[in-house]
Subunit: 218 residues, 2 copies
């Protein structure tokens, strides 16, 4: 069976809509995510590209409320450490809402699997391509969740060893994301960090070069 090539216009528009309306969400309303919906999202993650088809992603669904609190505490500690490291912008950072771990419907921890050293295809010079693969998987969840009307936030404010210990991961595994997923009152119209003045979207032209790097911009 021949796979259809170009999507029809409405389908193309839907894909772009998910891309442009996806937001990093930190405000949730109560309510779990339906089991079937969660399964669809996890299946979407599993169909991400991966370097050498290694499928390095592992996802831990946190259903134990005490564990959720422990993860929140880990993030809260790192939030304060980050504020200290930020120096003069530390106070401004502390006023931002950076996660919704205690409020969101579901918490997922995304981690790189153990035993990755033996995967060499596409990783001999760039071993970190396993992280690129899991990031694509997480972006799949993000876009599918947006379409389903669910919000998601990616929290990377934690000490790796602490989260590894909390979830009893082997040393070779590495947590890279605490994902907050759930129902929302609204999707931000603009990225929250832009709306709150933390950073601005740079012009697209700043990011696109032809053949050679423009050193004047960096």
């Amino acid at each position: 069976m021949q796979v259809r090539m170009r999507f029809d216009d409405a389908e193309i528009a839907a894909v772009y809509r998910a891309i442009f309306e996806r937001r990093d969400i930190r405000h949730f309303k109560p309510g779990n995510v339906e089991t079937e919906t969660l399964k669809r999202l996890l299946r979407a993650a599993h169909h991400a590209p991966s370097v050498g088809f290694m499928q390095p992603w592992r996802i831990i669904h946190i259903t134990d409320p005490a564990l959720r609190v422990a993860l929140h505490n880990a993030v809260e500690r790192e939030r304060r450490a980050t504020a200290a490291a930020l120096g003069e912008r530390g106070d401004e950072f502390m006023r931002l809402k950076v996660e919704g771990i205690l409020e969101c419907g579901e918490v997922l921890v995304a981690a790189l699997m153990d035993g990755r050293d033996k995967y060499i295809f596409g990783r001999r010079t760039l071993p970190e391509m396993d992280l690129a693969s899991i990031a694509c998987a997480i972006q799949n969840i993000w876009l599918a969740a947006r379409a389903e009307g669910l919000g998601m936030g990616w929290v990377s404010l934690f000490e790796v060893d602490e989260v590894r210990r909390l979830l009893q991961m082997p040393k070779g595994a590495k947590p890279v994301a605490i994902l907050c997923l759930g129902h929302v009152e609204a999707f931000y119209e603009r990225p929250m960090l832009e709306a709150q003045g933390w950073a601005s979207r740079v012009p697209l032209e700043t990011c696109i070069f032809e053949n050679v790097w423009r050193t004047d911009e960096s």
Copy 2:
């Protein structure tokens, strides 16, 4: 204006379709990508999530044919080095088609920008989150391209220093992907590495845990 929450059913299906039908493509047919289409894809990349809204992605469009050949040569060298490193699977690896740099309509090199050390938000303990952000940007291109009927492949077989030198990047910048983008005869029905017996898709259940890691699987 309130952003509409849940997409309608046909839109949701389109997003999942892009996710499930996206493939890492290494076979292209001749023909450039239309300028307006390329712009839409780059805009999609630019609307990816990024850690602390740092937007670390830079994309170099390769329009110089000699530079394209030089990139191909760099990949070819790394392909042989990878085959040697793979040992007993080296011959099998050498029979796989792993890139379409010379045939594809457009070559884009995706790189992390210079001067990333000053971005601390979400990166104090996980500095590699900049790579996660650019991977999300690349996945946006991949999905939008699939919807537009264009194929893409992500090539990570190269020496970083060599590509950096070829494109005159500053030391602090880092190329992470040679992207082959273009028109295709067909999209693979299954991942090429699966169809050719390099690796199999693992069952989804292997990748999903609840609260604690299952050590029996790794």
